[in-house]
């Protein structure tokens, strides 16, 4: 099984490289450092959520509420600073806390009621987005101080600030999933939850942590997003859930749980962003690029499953 997983990622990486060379050949602006770094900036918000989503999907769960949590956290950040008069750093902490709390609530309902995550997070999606709209009252918050934009628009050693954060998170998530007992617990839950319980693994605690992380990282993503686009609105993060899930599934995680890696997710993420960008640069209209993502998503899973069948 493990060997097969590696193969999925290897294939994906190979496709990615071929696509990169092809797109670079078609357009000389594509394979420039500036462009690639800028694309890294644009994919950070989805990437930060895709990491905990990989954990969630590895346990056999799903979290559809992440986009709504992004909206809620963005609004809380803006309103806490502008209307409640909190200092901006404290407002950021409050927003992250709200994200973690929202994720914790998801986890609590899922573990205590043994409810299917898909249903619970569809319901909380409606609730969190509604709360964001209620708190924002259709006002947008602007006029943040200059230092606030360092995260979303600034650079450190020539690399976009948020890309450093994403990089650090990728390493931490990768090690946590692959090299710690916590990570192995997640695979065990996804492969066979009953067996995991009988093996005395703390199944509910692990799930609770995973959904809380998903909320927290959605909050962090909201922070980065607000800092990048310099304004706060309640419809922020709309539809993020499907982009995030597409990246994770493209990266080889099984929607049934038990399989998937952080490295795969990162390749899936990079692939989607660069395909979008490369096609846009070669003259494909912006919206048409998402057709390609749909095709790549289905095709990659098709190839992976047919390879798996051949091995069996």
């Amino acid at each position: 099984m493990n060997r097969y997983l590696k193969r999925h990622e290897t294939i994906l990486a190979a496709i990615l490289i071929v696509a990169l060379i092809g797109l670079g050949y078609l357009n000389d602006q594509f394979l420039t450092l500036d462009n690639l770094l800028n694309q890294g900036r644009l994919m950070t918000e989805i990437g930060l959520i895709a990491l905990p989503m990989t954990f969630v999907i590895v346990t056999g769960g799903i979290d559809l509420s992440v986009g709504a949590i992004v909206g809620l956290c963005a609004i809380v950040l803006g309103v806490a600073w502008k209307n409640w008069g909190l200092p901006l750093p404290l407002a950021v902490v409050v927003a992250l806390g709200v994200g973690a709390l929202a994720g914790f609530c998801n986890g609590l309902v899922i573990t205590r009621l043994k409810a299917p995550p898909l249903i619970v997070t569809i319901a909380t999606l409606a609730l969190y987005r509604g709360l964001a709209e209620g708190i924002s009252k259709a006002r947008s918050v602007r006029g943040y101080p200059d230092w606030f934009y360092v995260l979303g628009q600034g650079e450190v050693f020539g690399v976009p600030t948020q890309l450093w954060i994403l990089g650090a998170c990728i390493v931490i998530a990768g090690v946590a999933l692959d090299r710690t007992s916590f990570g192995r617990t997640l695979y065990a839950i996804g492969a066979n939850e009953t067996a995991a319980r009988f093996s005395a693994l703390a199944v509910d605690r692990a799930k609770l942590i995973v959904y809380t992380l998903s909320g927290l990282m959605s909050g962090l993503s909201a922070f980065v997003l607000v800092s990048r686009v310099t304004t706060t609105r309640s419809d922020m993060g709309l539809g993020y859930e499907l982009d995030v899930i597409a990246a994770v599934v493209l990266g080889g995680a099984s929607i049934f749980g038990g399989a998937g890696t952080v490295w795969g997710t990162v390749i899936g993420l990079v692939m989607i962003q660069l395909l979008k960008n490369g096609l846009a640069l070669t003259g494909v209209k912006g919206d048409a690029t998402i057709i390609v993502i749909g095709v790549v998503l289905i095709a990659s899973v098709l190839i992976a499953s047919s390879l798996e069948r051949r091995r069996e």
């Binding site: 799903i62 559809l64 309902v109 009621l113 043994k114 409810a115 299917p116 898909l118 249903i119 619970v120 569809i122 319901a123 909380t124 999606l125 409606a126 609730l127 969190y128 987005r129 509604g130 709360l131 709209e133 209620g134 924002s136 009252k137 259709a138 709309l238 539809g239 499907l242 899930i245 597409a246 599934v249 929607i255 049934f256 209209k285 919206d287 048409a288 690029t289 998402i290 057709i291 390609v292 993502i293 749909g294 095709v295 998503l297 289905i298 899973v301 098709l302 499953s305 047919s306 069948r309």
Partner: protein, 323 residues
């Protein structure tokens, strides 16, 4: 099970999610009507039903898909595509029957193809339909540029057709389709096969039901209902915006789930999903009439959805515990 159910059995069956929803619909109407009698005006009630009937119809197909153990994310985008196709054909001067028929045929074809991929290539439906969602959404907007379709011929408007002078067509379609689909799922072998395949595919296979064929059929039926829903959606206003209605897939799935359809497959009825669609629309409208700030409408709706879902899970677990 005996052929004739005893009154107790019937009562027990009625004490279900469907009954709870019906009570909630009537109870809410009484309470809100007491606070603000205008809520119960014929105008408001008919607006409420007319504007949301297409969600209930789409939820019929979605419920079948979920009962069979699958899910469909692409339905919102598909309804957008089908509405645009239908409107464009009508504007281009094709016969109305053709403009009405095309979305049904295309809907069935697109969904059946997805069902075939799910059934024969073993790819989870959430992945296939997520990919299709992306393809349809991107395809529609890159072909049309999101422009508005106007100058629709008058005869195109389904909503203008009134049956017996009072009953508007969309409401009649909603009620008729729900009853027919419910009877079919409850009593016909093809309908029972959906429950069998969703509840336990292996057992279904041993009983001579082909889970694969059932999956394709269920998706095709879902495409048919999506086609009808697209027609109702396209004809409710004088213009059609040729983009996909944002988040429509989640509204449709929510109606099914609140209606008591289990995401784990094998459980739920289309009567429940239609009642849920009506209740969700009623709640949205009621909040306006009892002067809840429009900014908080979705938050209140969201917490009610969460409460319904939790109540349904607890009720189901209690029944399992009792059995």
């Amino acid at each position: 099970m005996s052929a004739a159910a005893s009154p107790v059995q019937i009562l027990r069956r009625i004490a279900s999610q469907e009954a709870m929803l019906a009570v909630a619909i009537i109870g809410l109407a009484i309470v809100v009507g007491f606070v603000n009698p205008r809520f119960l005006s014929a105008n408001n009630l008919s607006d409420l039903l007319l504007g949301n009937a297409y969600i209930a119809v789409a939820a019929i197909g979605m419920s079948m898909v979920i009962v069979s153990g699958n899910i469909d994310i692409s339905v919102g985008a598909l309804i957008g595509v089908l509405a645009t196709v239908s409107g464009s054909l009508a504007v281009a001067g094709y016969p109305i029957a053709f403009a009405w028929g095309a979305p049904l045929v295309i809907g069935i074809a697109v969904m059946a193809a997805q069902g075939a991929v799910v059934a024969y290539l073993g790819i989870p439906s959430i992945v296939v339909t997520l990919g299709m969602w992306s393809i349809l959404k991107g395809g529609l907007i890159s072909v049309t540029g999101g422009r508005w379709i106007t100058d629709l011929p008058n005869s195109f408007h389904l909503a203008d057709v009134e049956v017996f002078g009072v009953l508007p067509m969309p409401v009649l379609i909603m009620v008729g389709a729900t009853i027919l689909a419910a009877i079919w799922m409850r009593f016909w072998p093809g309908g029972r096969a959906i429950y069998a395949a969703g509840g336990n595919p292996e057992a279904a296979r041993l009983c001579g039901v082909s889970p694969r064929r059932t999956t394709i059929f269920v998706f095709a039926a879902h495409g048919f209902f999506a086609g009808i829903a697209a027609l109702m959606f396209a004809t409710q206003l004088r213009v059609i915006q040729s983009t996909t209605p944002a988040g429509l897939e989640l509204v449709v799935i929510t109606a099914s789930v609140v209606g008591g359809v289990s995401i784990l497959g094998g459980v739920g009825t289309v009567i429940g999903s239609t009642l849920a669609a009506v209740l969700l629309a009623e709640i949205a409208s009621a909040l306006v009439f009892i002067n809840v700030s429009p900014y908080w409408t979705h938050a209140v709706q969201g917490s009610l959805i969460l409460a319904t879902v939790i109540a349904d899970i607890l009720r189901r677990r209690r029944r399992l515990g009792a059995a």
